[in-house]
């Protein structure tokens, strides 16, 4: 049975021929349109669209690179980075209830009004609420779940030795860039370079595929300094004490390894604490031992004597008349503290006679004197890499007047940094070679430059040892159980181009043990004003205390009998009688 519809369908309906063709044409047109659109998207806009698509799941992730540590020669840490959190807000996205605001202000230890002011900057999309807070507090703020508040991990620098090593190590600014000291001079080595990579993330934000490394992170390298934290501590402690006791304006101390020129300790006073920025000011920041110069006074005397002996002008026993304790050079008068009579060259050093010194120096051509100063590194930066090293002042010899040649022989009219002074003494500890000073630990023996013969070095060394004997200027520099050599310096301070009558710079440079020198220590106190001001009274005791500890720390064998050495204690003999 046929349905009525089929019955109708059998009826042929004649359509106009044009309509079918038109439909066909429209369809083809539509197809062409689609094809063109497809070609357009596929061909011309392909890159753009693919980018758009990728942006939905592909992300660039930063890979952090830590700043390197700074350690002492034994690997003890002097500076290290530790993560902290910085809290920031997006003022356009933030919604905060009064209760949350109160909690936030408590956690951040900030005024509610201050927070309000910051998050109400409508036009901005990023504002720091507080930088560098401890991670635990950041956790608790995170737990408040305030929309529009987020965190950023930053690294803060910590300095475990505090002010003790501040002048060498320096500090970084809030953006982790070195500002002073080794942090600045070695910034390129210490700083890490952030890396980044492209990854795919799923809808929950988990990384599901590593696509490519865009830039590998380059972690900062550690810097191993030549400092010994133990000696550094002792040096700092004793200097601080001495500056306080003698009411000095400032002070510096440098300890060098006598054989390699490595800096074992270096500190100054006044000083700052690198862990608290508020203690930093331009006075305290100065690493005086390296960047300030002063007229050293008698601590320079061994050098003209060395060159005079080297040139054969004198020998240690050549005698000079220093009576009556004054000596006229041109229109100026050179003075000794008192009339010291006839002195041998060795005694000139031992009792530090200016008159004797000038007589020795004037027997030399100016060029010879200039050469010994120049060859021992005065007038040139010491080359440690520390930012802002001083050159000091050593004027060319062809412009010297006789009186200048005279004063220069006992350390006036020439200015040096304490580091230069300490380094110059390496010629006496190494048998005539000037060692370069370094702040970095040296693994291999360093190249040195010969300045005087080892015979001369030994002869001058003997004179320097005499200076620490009872008849010398620095008996207070002695160390129990060791032979000590050194030279005191007491210089009138130059104020507005004139020597001040009552202001002094007291210094002492020396080394021990004499039989096999291991440590050179140079001490300088600026304007000691508690009555005492002679280098032998002010600076030498500091030298002695630091040297005693340094030799003990370095396990240096004794080379002299200690004054109170006892072979066996009574208790022990009692025991053995037993």
């Amino acid at each position: 049975m046929l349905s009525p519809i089929n019955q109708h369908a059998t009826v042929q309906i004649k359509m106009p021929a044009g309509r079918a063709r038109m439909v066909l044409a429209l369809l083809i047109l539509g197809l062409i349109g689609l094809l063109m659109r497809a070609a357009y998207l596929q061909g011309l806009q392909n890159d753009f669209l693919q980018q758009k698509g990728e942006a939905r799941y592909s992300r660039i992730v930063e890979m952090s690179a830590d700043r390197g540590m700074i350690t002492d020669r034994n690997g003890e840490i002097l500076a290290i980075s530790s993560p902290v959190a910085s809290v920031y807000a997006d003022p356009q996205a933030i919604t905060i209830t009064p209760a949350q605001l109160k909690e936030l202000s408590e956690l951040l230890a900030m005024d509610e009004a201050e927070i309000e002011r910051r998050i109400n900057r409508e036009q901005s999309r990023f504002v720091y609420l507080k930088r560098q807070i401890v991670p635990e507090i950041a956790e608790r703020i995170h737990a408040l779940r305030i929309p529009g508040i987020a965190f950023e991990t930053e690294f803060k620098r910590y300095y475990p030795e505090g002010e003790g090593a501040a002048h060498v190590v320096g500090f970084t600014d809030i953006n982790d860039q070195g500002q002073e000291g080794v942090e600045r001079g070695w910034n390129a080595v210490l700083a890490g370079e952030m890396g980044s990579r492209r990854v795919l993330k799923d809808n929950k934000g988990r990384i599901i595929e590593d696509v490519e490394n865009i830039r590998a992170p380059k972690p900062g390298q550690d810097v191993i300094l030549s400092l010994d934290r133990r000696i550094q501590h002792i040096a700092h402690r004793e200097l601080k004490k001495a500056v306080a006791v003698h009411k000095a304006k400032a002070g510096s101390i440098v300890a060098l390894d006598a054989q390699t020129g490595e800096v074992l300790a270096l500190t100054n006073f006044p000083v700052y604490n690198p862990n608290s920025r508020s203690s930093i000011n331009s006075e305290r920041i100065r690493n005086r031992a390296l960047i300030d110069t002063f007229e050293p006074g008698s601590t320079l005397k061994p050098f003209p004597v060395a060159v005079a002996i080297e040139a054969g002008h004198v020998n240690p026993n050549t005698r000079f008349q220093t009576s009556p304790g004054t000596f006229k050079v041109g229109r100026s008068v050179i003075r000794d503290v008192r009339d010291k009579g006839v002195l041998s060259v060795a005694e000139v050093i031992q009792v530090s006679s200016n008159v004797g010194m000038v007589k020795i120096a004037l027997s030399l051509p100016p060029q010879t004197l200039w050469e010994i100063y120049s060859n021992t590194g005065f007038g040139l930066p010491v080359g440690t890499g520390y930012p802002g090293e001083a050159n000091g002042l050593l004027r060319p010899y062809n412009r010297w007047r006789p009186v200048e040649q005279a004063t220069m022989s006992f350390g006036h009219g020439i200015s040096v940094s304490l580091m230069q002074l300490a380094r110059a003494y390496t010629i006496f500890t190494t048998g005539g070679e000037l060692k370069p000073v370094t702040l970095e630990k040296q693994e291999f023996p360093v190249m040195a430059q010969r300045v005087i013969s080892s015979k001369t070095a030994l002869a001058v060394g003997r004179m320097l040892e005499m200076a620490t004997q009872a008849a010398g200027t620095a008996p207070l520099a002695r160390v129990n159980g060791y032979r000590v050599a050194g030279k005191t310096g007491t210089a009138h301070k130059l104020v507005d181009g004139k020597y001040a009558k009552d202001r002094y710079i007291s210094s002492f440079v020396g080394y021990a043990p004499v039989s096999n020198p291991r440590v050179i220590i140079a001490v300088m106190l600026d304007e000691p004003s508690a009555g005492k001001y002679f280098g032998g009274e002010v600076a030498a005791p500091v030298f002695s205390r630091v040297m005693a500890e340094a030799l003990r720390i370095l396990n240096v064998p004794h080379d002299a009998s200690a004054t109170d050495m006892v072979w066996f204690p009574a208790a022990l003999t009692e025991d053995q009688k037993g």
Binding site: M69, S82, G162, G164, E209, H233, A562
Partner: protein
């Protein structure tokens, strides 16, 4: 007919391979995620290590130790008078002297 069967087999193979690709991809992503987590842990441990180093370094600061020894334990550095330096060679000699003396008692 043979051709039709061959096609069927190919289709089956294709489906198996496709499923394999999906499974492996999933597996790879899971492993990647695990690796990512390990990386995070490593980073965390590295940071922790840094913190511990800092802590150790702060605890062994000489001024702290010195303070503790002086103030809390009432210790002091012996004066030069109370220190006795024994040289190995001389000590050996004097030991025999002492022993000789001991015998005579």
């Amino acid at each position: 007919m043979i051709l039709f069967r061959f096609n069927l087999i190919l289709i089956a193979l294709l489906v198996i391979c496709a499923l394999g690709v999906v499974t492996i991809q999933h597996e790879a992503r899971k492993l990647n995620m695990a690796w990512e987590n390990e990386r995070k842990t490593a980073r965390k441990l590295q940071i922790e290590w840094g913190k511990l180093q800092l802590e150790q370094s702060t605890l062994i600061a000489r001024r702290q130790i010195e303070y503790a020894a002086r103030e809390q334990l009432n210790m002091e550095i012996p004066s030069a008078n109370s220190v006795q330096i024994i040289s190995a060679k001389k000590a050996d000699e004097s030991r025999w002297v002492v022993l000789d003396n001991a015998k005579s008692y």
